[in-house]
Symmetry: C2
Subunit: 530 residues, 2 copies
């Protein structure tokens, strides 16, 4: 493969911008072209997640090409949910590495803040498996269940867990105040963190990245510059968290990291600073381990010990991260790499200038680690540091998934709670609060089920399951710790909702009409083709 | 670049399938993997256009990977409106050509028929520039205006024009009856063609490809097989047809073809058969010229002379084309290449087996030629046929576009009709019939304006323009041949609509709420960022 270098970069302010998406893309792209002394690209890669849903327009690749005065230049859109910014970089990298393209302009952007939060939550929830979405799962709820399980496995008290998360949130906000592109430029105090409202237990407001508008752009070229992309790798994992063997370490990130290190010919020990996808604060902690930058089980302590701080051994998210810089979903993966470039080129506020910037790692993820990307960039003359021979781990189908594939799950009656969350900010059409649990059923399947938010629950507890009437195959279920109430039919959807409206009609409201239609269609009118 | 070969292919039946989109993708992918003797791919490329809008789900790359038992394998989505199938092939090609990927599985699919036609028209219209969409333009209306202009420039009578189109439509339906994957498997008679209803003058029902469900897949590999992809190229053109210098020849196709021929090192004279994007029948005629397969101005006669028939010199769309095989919008670009492979491998009905299948050209387009792709495939040992030194034509900004970029268009008062159509199947929220014209205004801008469908109109006619009240900058306008009526305020939106409801509220209905909001937001609250 031909070596690939980074020329100019461009990025808009992140925040509530009140500007049309196309203008954001144009501003970022013009910035990158101008910083590249107007070298002309011979391909344009645009990263966008559901612009049709967010702003009602399509055909942005051609539109942007027009607006840049580059009409005629090949242009294409790439999408990989919330790792779209990294995915579009990956595609442009391959285009240049193949020799088919000399210079590729990479652009990504989002306009999200003009929509109500619940509408944004609903649009983002389309990435979640339908069966989990029907049970009421949202991205924060899934992240919260991961965190709850991590707390349990690491034998942390809720207080210790939240203290570690607080340290990361405070650090990222502290750093964000020096980034003039960041959405939030004020530090937060420990008190403010602990006083903030619970979004989905144990995650509070300051554990969750905000809704953000913004765009980013970069020119990749085969002509040598001061920064080379040494390695780039991707991995995927099952759509539903319920089909995984592990809940607190993510195969997609591990695979992406191994691929990137192998391509770079340089291992984790060469990395001097990192930008990690902290859409939820615990993801920074977990992904530092999955990228091999920290030993498994050590990163929470490392965060407490300030190893990830600007003066620590591995400065992490010194840009403010997704948490403080903001998280335009299609853009973050590319913005991270631009932040690393800014550090390497000394373009940051001197108070947050990292000393050793020879080699950086950026990690971005889409959905609940359905996709992960790892990008390694550094000086073109970086010394080679041979890594232990490592290969991407055997790509095997998780047992649970292969069991389920093509088979209808049986009705479930009892199971054991693997993790749970109390969700206070549900998607459109669901009541608040909701109790959600990932239940390992007697039949060996895992499902996300709804419980009574007034009842306590714990990991390892045995619960009874009942299908919510008239729902499609696979769910949703509700669960209770009281078998008697199931028998007597006392556990009802109504009780869970504390609203006159039944849950199923709410599920129907939540799912878009067409999706539901397709779904039921499939059940009713199964017909072979191909 | 490494050479790229085609291993197995898979394709579902095309038509009204009553199956969830994910199942269609799985069926096609399993077909391709099974034909490839289950060689395991190390990357998956998924081509999908707006699945969020069509079926309410996202994250298909991860989902498909799951369902194929390939969880862990890098997977990504690519989109380029109705040329998505060709775009995703282009990306997978580059991945293999770069050496980063050994085998790439390419999959594309659509589920469309479960939605009402007007909803499909509205979703597909999101690819059209907002200003043209606001005036009521749909894809068939734009294609019809192109055809009307072509008829004028070629000095064809409406009868001759329709006779040439009829020949193509009858041929493609004739061929489709032998393709067991085709949506329509019945020949149509000349009478049936001429008796069919007018969709948008001069295009009738049999000039337009149908709404279709279907999926296609292909495994690309760096390991030699019996078929090599010799060349692949893309080009773009302005988002709005009003910004172009030519209306009947498309720069995107010309650029894509030149790029593909140059990569292949083989010119148009080596092509033995073709699959051309006949979403509208006249596109087959025009694209045969833009791809260099026929001299400019000769293809209508060539169609009449049956040169594109199975026994002609250049058999074209012997698969039935998009017209008879059906047009799942994300899929067609990949399906075309699979049809060419089927011919080369002798997998078609012997009644439609082309004799010379050494080298084929496939052309796919997105939007109104906003994007075009050309793919050249053939035997790995195809003789080299040096082409005349050709370079991609200078990528210049059309004058009109550069004039407009960043400037607000002035209010327009008069102009000359460049082309027009009477549209009988408008998008949701618009009345039928509508008269639409592309008007070259006194100020040198081109706009699409609405006229009185009860009045006659012709190319070259001078018309008076009036802005539809309260509409955003740029449009929509209406036009009339009667200056007096404009002066006296008699030309009203009401008159055009023949409905009590004003056009602007209808425009508002048509545009999704969010788009409109963004649009007006931008006008009212312009604020600089970046």
């Amino acid at each position: 493969m031909k070596p690939v270098y980074i020329a100019g970069t461009g990025m808009t302010q992140f925040g509530k911008l009140h500007e049309p998406l196309i203008d954001l893309l144009v501003h970022a792209a013009q910035g990158a072209l101008s910083e590249s002394e107007h070298l002309s690209p011979d391909a344009i890669y645009v990263g966008l997640m559901n612009p049709e849903g967010f702003v009602g327009d399509s055909n942005f690749a051609a539109w942007l090409t027009d607006r840049l005065g580059l009409s005629g230049v090949p242009a294409m859109r790439v999408e990989a949910t919330s790792s779209t910014g990294a995915a579009v970089l990956h595609e442009a990298f391959q285009a240049v590495a193949s020799g088919n393209v000399k210079r590729a302009l990479v652009v990504a952007g989002d306009a999200m803040t003009h929509l109500p939060t619940r509408k944004v939550t609903q649009l983002l929830s389309q990435v979640i498996a339908a069966k989990d979405r029907q049970a009421g799962a949202t991205m924060p709820a899934l992240a919260a269940m991961v965190t709850q399980r991590w707390m349990h496995d690491a034998k942390l008290s809720e207080e210790d867990c939240r203290r570690a998360l607080m340290k990361v949130a405070v650090k990222n906000h502290d750093m964000g105040q020096f980034n003039d592109r960041a959405q939030f430029r004020k530090p937060i105090s420990e008190e403010k963190y602990f006083d903030s409202r619970m979004v989905s237990s144990p995650l509070c407001l300051y554990d969750c990245a905000p809704i953000t508008d913004g765009a980013a752009a970069m020119l990749l070229t085969s002509e040598p510059t001061d920064i080379r992309i040494w390695g780039i790798g991707q991995g995927t994992d099952t759509l539903s968290m319920t089909d995984r063997e592990e809940l607190t370490s993510f195969r997609s990130t591990r695979a992406a990291a191994i691929r990137a290190y192998n391509m770079a010919g340089r291992g984790p020990q060469t990395i001097q600073f990192a930008e990690i996808h902290d859409a939820f604060i615990p993801f920074e902690v977990l992904s530092l381990e999955d990228t091999g930058l920290m030993e498994r089980g050590t990163s929470a302590q490392a965060e407490l010990d300030e190893i990830t701080h600007i003066k620590g051994k591995l400065p992490t998210n010194i840009s403010g991260g997704l948490k403080a810089r903001g998280h335009p979903v299609s853009t973050s993966g590319l913005a991270q790499v631009i932040e690393a470039v800014s550090q390497m080129r000394g373009q940051v506020d001197k108070q947050v200038q990292i000393k050793k910037t020879g080699m950086a790692l950026c990690q971005s993820t889409g959905g609940l680690f359905n996709q992960s990307f790892v990008t390694i960039l550094g000086k073109p003359r970086a010394r080679k540091a041979p890594i232990e021979p490592e290969t991407v781990e055997q790509l095997h189908v998780p047992e649970r998934l292969s069991l389920l594939n093509g088979k209808r799950p049986r009705r479930q009656t009892t199971g054991v709670v693997e993790t749970f969350t109390y969700l206070n900010a549900p998607a459109e059409g669901f009541p608040a609060p909701m109790l959600l649990a990932l239940v390992n059923t007697k039949g060996g399947n895992h499902i996300i089920a709804r419980g009574d938010p007034e009842r306590p629950v714990e990991i390892g507890q045995t619960v009874h399951l009942k299908k919510i009437e008239a729902s499609g195959e696979g769910g949703p279920y509700y669960f209770t710790d009281d078998a008697e109430r199931v028998k007597q039919g006392e556990v009802s959807v109504k009780m869970l909702d504390r609203k006159p409206k039944g849950a199923l009609s709410q599920v129907k409201d939540f799912l878009s009409g067409s999706s539901l239609k397709t779904h039921y269609f499939a059940v009713k009118r199964k017909k072979k083709s191909s």
